[in-house]
């Protein structure tokens, strides 16, 4: 279809650099409000783009309250679709020295879709310790959940169809801050 190929060539802009910045600032405040401060918080980014997002959230929280530990949590080894795809290389897992026991862990990811990555992250977290609570912050919630998982903090809700894909680009990984919607050839 000519329309489809046109949509592929010109991705629709969902969030500009300023939108991403504002959403992260708001989420930072929401995290502080919900948890009544930043004590006992640990931010765990899910590679790859969840990690720079977690660092930025920590920087914003640090500006208002105190520094919070940031880590990264690779979910590859815990995924339920390992056998359905070619072998993936592992990403980094970094546990902050404070650990996760009795702390409130905020998982940070770029896009929430089926919820399977978050499920894998929750299982991975099981092997690291026992947090007092786990919350979920995402930059974009695109719907189509396959598991009973919901985010606590959302940058933007985007209704999508399954043959579209949401691409988050961040200056740390892609040289630019923006979120675009692409039509995927399946």
């Amino acid at each position: 279809m000519p329309q489809a190929s046109q949509a592929e060539e010109r991705p629709r802009l969902l969030m500009s650099s300023a939108d991403v910045g504002r959403a992260l600032t708001r989420i930072g405040y929401e995290i502080l409000e919900r948890n009544r401060g930043a004590d006992d918080l640990v931010l765990m980014g899910i590679p790859r783009r969840g990690v720079p997002l977690a660092r930025r959230l920590a920087a914003r929280i640090g500006e208002v309250e105190c520094d919070v530990p940031v880590g990264s949590l690779d979910t590859t080894m815990y995924r339920d679709d390992l056998r359905l795809r070619p072998t993936r290389p592992l990403e980094q897992t970094v546990i902050p020295p404070e650990g996760v026991d009795d702390r409130v862990v905020v998982l940070v990811d770029d896009v929430l879709f089926s919820g399977r990555t978050v499920r894998a992250a929750l299982t991975a977290l099981d092997d690291l310790g026992r947090p007092r609570g786990v919350q979920l912050a995402v930059l974009v919630d695109r719907g189509h959940r396959e598991l009973p998982i919901r985010p606590d903090y959302v940058g933007k809700n985007v209704p999508t169809s399954r043959d579209e894909s949401v691409r988050v680009q961040l200056s740390e990984t892609d040289g630019i801050d923006r979120v675009v919607l692409l039509r995927e050839e399946r």
């Binding site: 080894m77 815990y78 070619p86 072998t87 592992l90 897992t93 970094v94 299982t123 092997d127």
Partner: protein, 311 residues
């Protein structure tokens, strides 16, 4: 990567991916709960036609850390000692649904035969075939060197001893060369294989001349069990000319490390005080072996289309 039969089959990016994956395995197992669910429901068979302690237990532990089921076949105490052929053993394992077979065999090329004869659909990992190759040993040696020395490009590695009978030496030379290191093999002329000049390394017969420049020294085990004839006059003479003792240890740079694939003949290729010194990373090699084998099993079995029973 379909099988791991020889380091010669690896490309430089594949080798680096294996080492980087092992590095992540170190992070993932450096905590209270060391087990990962990744290979749940997969079966790994250790098929050992030769004696081995550390390689077999290392593969077993690696598979168990990844939640795979492990079956150990060793030549002693099984039908293998009754003269069952490699083919019949392979067909048996295939019928039992093995997803990966880790094989050690006294004949060079046995792992390749097992992988390509069409007997099994499992992934095959070479855990040592005759005097040919021992790829996971080379990977764990490179991993250990990389942890101490950083990137191996331009690093000088000296491998000393019984090169002729050593699959460790052959695998090490090729892998370290692939990773950019400059390798020198040293040993008595009687223990140099025919064709060593075609290996990507220098050959020397004088240990003392090579040690000062070395960043890492690997001492090979003198494999008396493979020696039908005498290759050197006496143990004492071998130790004096090629063994690593305190005097030779003093010739090494301060950053240089000493490796040994084990099991050691203390007093022969390495003296006890050197083996127990803080320059020797021999015990660390054992721990790193588990990490490297986890990486190999993950990369072979972790994805789609692996094993006979993949959906």
């Amino acid at each position: 990567m379909q099988h791991l039969l020889s380091v010669v089959d690896l490309t430089a990016p594949e080798a680096v991916t294996l080492l980087d994956t092992a590095e992540e395995m170190a992070r993932l197992t450096d905590r209270a709960i060391k087990k990962l669910p990744t290979l749940r429901g997969r079966t790994v068979v250790n098929l050992f036609f030769e004696d081995s302690t550390r390689t077999r237990t290392s593969f077993e532990l690696a598979a168990k850390r990844l939640s795979a089921d492990v079956i150990n076949f060793s030549a002693k105490g099984s039908s293998l000692s009754k003269g069952e052929s490699l083919k019949d053993t392979a067909l048996t394992l295939e019928a039992m649904g093995a997803d990966a077979i880790v094989v050690r065999h006294p004949a060079s090329g046995a792992a390749h035969r097992l992988a390509h004869a069409g007997w099994v659909s499992a992934r095959v990992v070479n855990a040592g075939d005759g005097t040919h190759e021992h790829p996971t040993q080379a990977l764990l040696d490179a991993f250990t060197m990389r942890r101490h020395l950083g990137e191996l490009t331009g690093r000088r590695v000296v491998i000393v001893g019984d090169v002729l009978h050593s699959r460790v030496a052959r695998s090490n030379v090729h892998l370290l060369h692939l990773l950019g290191a400059e390798v020198t093999v040293v040993g008595p002329p009687t223990l140099m294989p025919v064709g060593v000049e075609s290996w990507p390394c220098r050959v020397s017969y004088d240990v003392d001349a090579e040690l000062a420049k070395a960043d890492a020294v690997t001492m090979l085990r003198v494999q008396t069990e493979r020696m039908a004839a005498s290759y050197f006059p006496s143990t004492r003479e071998y130790a004096r000319r090629y063994g690593l003792d305190a005097r030779r240890l003093g010739m090494l740079g301060e950053h240089a490390i000493v490796l040994h694939p084990g099991p050691m003949n203390r007093g022969m290729e390495i003296t006890a005080d050197v083996a127990d010194s803080d320059r020797a990373v021999i015990v660390e090699q054992v721990g790193n072996g588990v990490l490297v084998r986890m990486a190999v099993l993950y990369l072979l079995l972790g994805g789609a289309g692996t094993g006979g029973q993949a959906p």
